[in-house]
Amino acid sequence: MDTVLSASHLTCRYGRTEAVTDLSFDVAPGTVFALLGPNGAGKTTTIRTVMNILRPSGGAATVFGVDSRQLAARELATIGYVSENQALPLWMTVDDLLAYCKPFYPSWDDALAARLVAEFDLPRGRKLGRLSRGMRIKAALVSSLAYRPRLLVLDEPFGGLDPVVRDDLVHGVLELAGQEQWTVLISSHDLDEVERLADTIGFMDGGRLVLCERFADLHARFRRVEATTADDSAAQSVSTVAAGWLGVQRAGRVVRFIETRYVEGDTERRATAACHADRVEVFPMTLREMFVALVRARRDADRETDKKVPR
């Protein structure tokens, strides 16, 4: 099987609102696929559709080759799902939760569950309703990892957690996913954790998949560029914005932009020519910087489109 999870022209509507539009992506086995995007981008809707919690309005998604609408107990027994919104049975203790889940999974591993409970420092006898949010997420993770799922789906699992807890969880998931060669689909606002986890990034905005690329490729082609000119007037006269440059800003003698098609040497030459620059510096970018640049660029583009549309 080439892909564990695949979406093809997936569309999902809530009434007249199209939450996800024409979404297509594939998740390869053993990789971590991160869905990124601002609030309301459609990440959670996408994941819920893939998990057969919601029905697609158009297109299709398959998991292990099975149409998402046909996902049944057999497939769900090999999928782990954790969401920040998930309503856990709060009246159960941690032990109750694990004991309740165990009979549903033929591959349940008691030793792994015990190890994770110990690693996450979970109080076994305490009711979930009396645990902190972070502890509840840990309990949900244990109940979703203990049967060694072939696919782990994490929907904003670490949102609002303190850095220590988040680090524990990221470390735990990373370690296990790496060891077990699991396929992971994660949506998150936490770009730092995604940066550590993800092999592939899918960037969503306004219900559409704007970008879908291996993180290594993305990291290679995104650069922050600072071109310094001889004087202020030279900087103000920059008129040619090359294709792939985002967020061009001028401040005194410095012109800054994001290069999305970085080729060593070529980017510097084009920047020198376009900006009449004396000096061009190129900096690698974090995922957070790429994310912010893409969101801003898209919003600027939307504003421009709105201006052009006659009202």
């Binding site: 919690i53 107990a73 309503a87 049975p89 999974y105």
Partner: protein, 556 residues
């Protein structure tokens, strides 16, 4: 099966305390019901306490299934994208079966059995106790199925409660609209003479089946598809179509056969309709009319029509279809109203107490003036103008009288002593006798399930001294009068499907005044030889007779 067992045990574990509380309340309600009448006789603080406890228990017993069903269904909600179970390998069909099995066992069968055990303990009558299980199971199953269906359409307890309130309000609104439309379109009211006193339960059974089908469709649709509006639409379509089918259903399979009063009723020479030509008809303002038509200016004309030849111990309820024809027109109508008319020298025509007196002969009433009125059937309802125009004009009155006949007889007697019993199904037991200087109060318990298909039955308890050939009627005491008005009937009736009921009577009745010169009354000596006669009135069938009277004048 593993899923079923795991989810079932999980639910049982979660709901065990609520279930225990509910079962306890169900049993306690039966027990409270059994001691309530005793305390009613004592009065004071214990009575207030038991009334309050009874009311609270009634609330708990009614409302607890709502909470239990919510907890049961909403632990794996069907209208919540964040539900834990949705991403777990739990088959929806198996989950549905588990929830329904849990509901059937713990919310239907177990409470019915617990109630039956409590009834058996209270009544010492295993047959009656077993007899409560069937009706309890049916009623509770309908209630629980409806609750489960609504719960599957809601994500949480709060939404569930709001939906229940909405459904109840909606039903009241729809029923109100339907009743109003029917009333204004077709009219109903006193025009129709009842065919029988037997209850045809076909409609009730079909409606119950319809409720089950709609509930099953909603539940199955929600568990299989989780598509809320599709499920609601499906339920609504089935409800509308089913209601239409129920409305026109031709096969009245649950209609009991009409009893035959006996050969004497077919003998037209013995039983005939008669109108006393001497006595003036009675004219009164109409008390009610067809809805949508004002009674202002309408008059009822009652006439002393009777069916002769009917044994004196029979209660007669008469309806008439009458036509008063004149040379240039006619007045006609159908009435089932009768009016109490008091007049000098009356013969106790259709008198309410006459059958009891006849049944208890040779004993005579201790207080004489209980035959205070005759019952005259209303033959016509006319406008004031018609009455003014035609009131004194003789016409030909054609009457078709239909009488529903109920026989009154003494079905048993109990010595006036605690523990005395009479009858078998139902059985009556005297539980308490409080003797006063001027009479006594008696607490009687009826034990036995009321069976719908038994022809209309009513029991009265008469204090009798056979040696003195005297009897006294009693005043029933309203039990549970201190509970909340809304729940009075429920609290007294209880939830044990009428397996037993306590009744208190004060003898002699204060509502019946003494006859002039009648100084006899109840004292200790009178009570020593007394028993309580069980007077049973049962429906025996109907007879119809026609009558034509020439020269009938409405207003003389």
């Amino acid at each position: 099966m593993t899923e079923l067992r795991v989810v079932f045990l999980k639910d049982l574990r979660r709901l065990r305390w609520l279930l225990a509380l509910w079962l306890g309340a169900t049993v306690a309600q039966v027990v409270v019901q059994s001691v309530r009448a005793d305390l009613e006789l004592i009065g004071g603080a214990p009575q207030v306490v038991i009334d309050t406890v009874g009311t609270l228990l009634a609330f708990v017993v009614i409302l607890m299934p709502v909470l239990l069903v919510s907890r049961l269904v909403h632990d794996e909600p069907l209208v919540n994208a964040d539900a834990f179970w949705l991403t777990r390998p739990i088959r929806p069909t198996m989950l549905m079966v588990t929830k329904l099995a849990f509901g059937a066992v713990w919310l239907v069968v177990v409470p019915a059995v617990a109630e039956a055990i409590a009834v058996a303990w209270v009544t010492r009558d295993s047959a009656t106790a077993l007899g409560t299980i069937g009706p309890s199971v049916v009623l509770q199953a309908l209630w629980v199925a409806s609750l489960v269906a609504i719960a599957t359409l809601t994500p949480s307890t709060m939404r569930f409660l709001m939906s229940l309130i909405g459904v109840v309000a909606g039903l009241i609104l729809v029923l109100g609209v339907i009743v109003s439309l029917l009333a204004t379109s077709f009219g109903f009211g006193p025009e129709s003479i009842p065919d029988t006193m037997l209850q045809d339960r076909t409609g009730d059974i079909l409606q119950s089946v319809l409720i089950v089908i709609v509930a099953a469709a909603l539940i199955a649709s929600q568990y299989r598809t989780r598509r809320l509006w599709r499920s609601i639409s499906l339920g609504a379509v089935i409800l509308v179509l089913g209601s239409a089918i129920v409305a026109v259903w031709p096969w009245r399979f649950a209609k009991p056969a009409e009893p035959d009063p006996g050969p004497w009723a077919h003998d037209t020479t013995r039983v005939a309709a008669a109108l006393d030509p001497v006595v003036k008809p009675y004219v009164i303002d109409a008390a009610y009319d067809r809805p949508g038509r004002t009674t202002a200016g309408r008059k009822w004309i009652a006439a002393p029509i009777e069916l002769t030849g009917i044994p004196r111990n029979y209660v007669v309820q008469m309806g008439v279809r009458a036509r008063l024809a004149f040379a240039d027109g006619a007045l006609d109508g159908v009435q089932r109203v009768s009016l109490p008319v008091s007049r000098p020298g009356m013969r106790a025509l259709h008198d309410y107490w006459a059958p009891i007196r006849a049944a208890l002969e040779p004993s005579v009433p201790l207080r004489g003036r209980i035959d205070s009125a005759e019952q005259w059937p209303v033959v016509l309802a006319v406008s004031a103008e018609d009455l003014a125009r035609r009131g004194t004009e003789p016409g030909r009155l054609t009457v078709e009288a239909t009488a529903l006949l109920s026989e009154t007889r003494v079905s048993g007697s109990m010595p006036l002593a605690e523990g005395a019993t009479a009858g078998s199904a139902p059985r009556f037991v005297i539980r308490r006798v409080f003797v006063r200087p001027d009479g006594c109060s008696v607490l009687i318990r009826r034990i036995g399930i009321a069976v719908d298909n038994v022809p209309f039955q009513r029991y009265q308890f008469v204090l009798r001294n056979a040696g003195r050939a005297q009897f006294a009627l009693g005043d029933p005491v309203s039990l549970g009068a201190r509970s909340m008005p809304l729940l009075q009937g429920w609290v007294v009736q209880g939830s044990s499907n009428g397996a037993f009921a306590d009744m208190v009577f004060n003898y002699p009745s204060r509502g019946i005044p003494r006859s002039e010169g009648d100084e006899t009354d109840i004292d200790a000596d009178w009570l020593r030889g007394a028993d309580v006669a069980v007077v049973e009135t049962s429906y025996r069938g109907r007879v119809s007779r026609s009558l034509t009277v020439d020269g009938f004048v409405m207003k003389r």
